[in-house]
Structure formats: C-alpha cells, structure tokens
Amino acid sequence: VKTALNAPRPLDLVIRLIILAYPPEFRRRYGQELLMLIQDICRDSQSSPPAWRLYLQARALSDLAGGAIYERLQALLENITAKDTSVKTSQSPSFYRRHRQSLLITGAALTALIVSSVILGFWSYGGPGGYAVRVVQIGQAAMRYEGNWNAGWDDVTANFVADYVAAKYHDSGRTDVGYKSPHAASQLEAATKETYSSMEPSFDPVLCSQQAPTSVKYIRERVTQPGYASIVAAFGYSDGSPTNLVRYDLDLDLSKSKQGDWKISQIQCLSLDAMPSKPYVNRLDVPTGAAPGTAPYSQRNDRTF
C-alpha cells in the first residue's frame, strides 16, 4: 500500500499498528480508506496550533483504537453465535488458535485501560474524549515555555508573572526571563534586553524593584479595544507584618498576535503616589461582560509567592 502520510514517523507507525489491530476482513476492505482518512486529518491539522493539533490527533487515534477493539469483539461474537456451522468455529479445537490475535489484542487493550486509569485518572475525565483532553493538558503543560497559544490574556499575564518571580527570586536568579519569555512580544523583548544591558545588575527593570514580592493581585483587567488588553498587577511586599505591606503596581499591555495568542507588549511601573486619579481615561474601554470597575478574572489568578 502506497501511503505518504503527512504525519511524523512515530505517529505514522502508531496509525499503522492500530489499523493492524482490526480484523483481517475489515482491514482488507477498509484499511486503505482508513489510512487515507487519517492522512486527511493529519494534513488538515497541520495548520493548527501545536496543542490543538495534538488534541485532534489524539481524538482520531483514540477513536481508531476503540473501533479496532469493537470490531475484534464483534467478529468474535459473530463467530460464536453463528448458526451456520460451516462458519462457526467456536466449538472446534482450533478456535483459540484462530482467534488468538483477537484475544491478545483485547487483553492488551484492557490492560492498557486499567494501567492508564491508574496513571492518568482515566475515569475522572469521562471516557475516551476526556482522556484525549487530559493528554492535551499534559502536552500543554510540557509546552509551557514554547508558548501557551490558547491562554487568555489574563492567564498569559499570570503565567508570565509567576514564571518571572519564580525564576528571578526563588529559582536560579535568572535575569533573562523578561525577554526570553514566550509571552513577551518582540518589542518588549528588545526593550527589556536593552534595559538589562544598561542598568545596574541589582535593579529589576521588569518589576522595578530589588526585593522579592510576596503576593500579587490582578486589578483593572480590561479589553481596551478588540485585540488589545490591559491589566494591572498589584504586587505586595511584606516583611511578615500585616501592617507593613507595601504595594507596587505594574501596568501590562497585551495584544493578540497574528497566530491568535496573547503577547505582553509593554510593562510600566506605576507608583501609587504618582498614579493619576483616572489613569485609563484616554483608552477606549470595551466591556468584557463584567460590571464597571470590577475585575472578572483577578481572583482566579491572585496568589501569594
């Protein structure tokens, strides 16, 4: 069979192995068509973002594998219940030898199901569809530093801030996370890199502070116009005493890239004393469904470091 799958080699191998698991009669009749259909799915998914492509392929493969088990079991049942004795082989000594492949595949599938249910919590994700979603979630987590393409602008901000604080203050003391982040737009990368090269190493040009923040709350989240958003990250700096909490705010501007993901395009430090009473008066506010002055997502992403 001549097939040039538009799929990476390991995926191509998995597809062929799953099709091999179908009963021979089914494979002879529909194997070629199944292969071509998967080829179409892979080709169509090439233009999708990586996590969505992974989801589409995981969904197609889980359905293909489910179909193989179903067809095997049905072929077995048809054989056992067949009234035509010339077809029926279940009473013959060679029955188990003839259907050894079906029994082995079914046994392997059931074992895989039980093992995966233990490892990935299969049943808590509601069957094969949920299982595929779980696979995508794991893939997305693994791709975090390669770009969180489908996150909303509020989540992009929260990821950036969490990564930045963790790397700069609690992990390795890295100072390049500001411009090497997948969430930073090219103009922010360039500006931050330039600032780093001209500033004293002890000062942080992103957080405008030399001290590690202890908490962050997100306020004034809003879409300023379609494709553009703004959010204020209010950092708390505490020495442990609740009365000695200093607040310092960052104004982050985000824009949607051509690929559809949100990128942080500008970060400005805002001193509370220097903040004008109506800092957003010149912006065109597009309602996000939340009541005026409220932040729809802030509580979800607020955290203590």
Partner: protein, 91 residues
C-alpha cells in the same frame, strides 16, 4: 466527519473508527452501497471509495424522520419547549 460536526453544531465528533464501523454495518444491512460515480479525475484519488444510499436506506430514513416528527409533535402538544438557545454554526 466534518459534515456531522457542522450539522450537529459541533456536538457530535465522528472519529475514523466509528465512521468505518458504521459504514460496514450499513452496507451489511443494505442501507448504503458503493457508488461507481466518481468526481472529476483531476480532483479525485483513484483509491478513494464513494458510497450512496440505497432505496432500502431511503425508506428507512423516511420512516425514522416520520418517527421523530411524531415524537416532536407529541412533545409540543404536551407543552414541552427547548431550553437551549440555538447555537450559530461556525463560518
């Protein structure tokens, strides 16, 4: 598969295994058959197969639609209304 997704407002996702299992059963039951009609050879792949509905399949489809229609009529006479707003199909 794409048609099923679009027609069901993306509620039904028909996978390749489900699709060909269904095709096999519909052929066995005589409701569809392989078609000799093919599109323009320039747009076609010779390995691809095409299927069409048989008179028996059309008859069954008509009976099913009639059954659904009756069920809907009864439900509406009983005052049952959909709680779901219709979803717009994607462009």
């Amino acid at each position: 598969m794409k048609q099923a997704e679009a027609d069901s407002a993306e509620r039904v996702h028909l996978g390749p295994g489900t699709l060909y299992g269904t095709i096999k059963r519909l052929i066995s039951a005589g409701y569809i058959e392989e078609s000799d009609e093919r599109p323009d050879p320039d747009l076609d792949d010779q390995r691809r197969r095409y299927y069409r509905i048989t008179p028996a399949g059309l008859s069954l489809l008509g009976a099913e639609l009639e059954r659904y229609e009756l069920a809907l009529q009864k439900a509406r006479l009983g005052g049952v209304r959909s709680h779901h707003k219709p979803r717009a199909l994607g462009a």
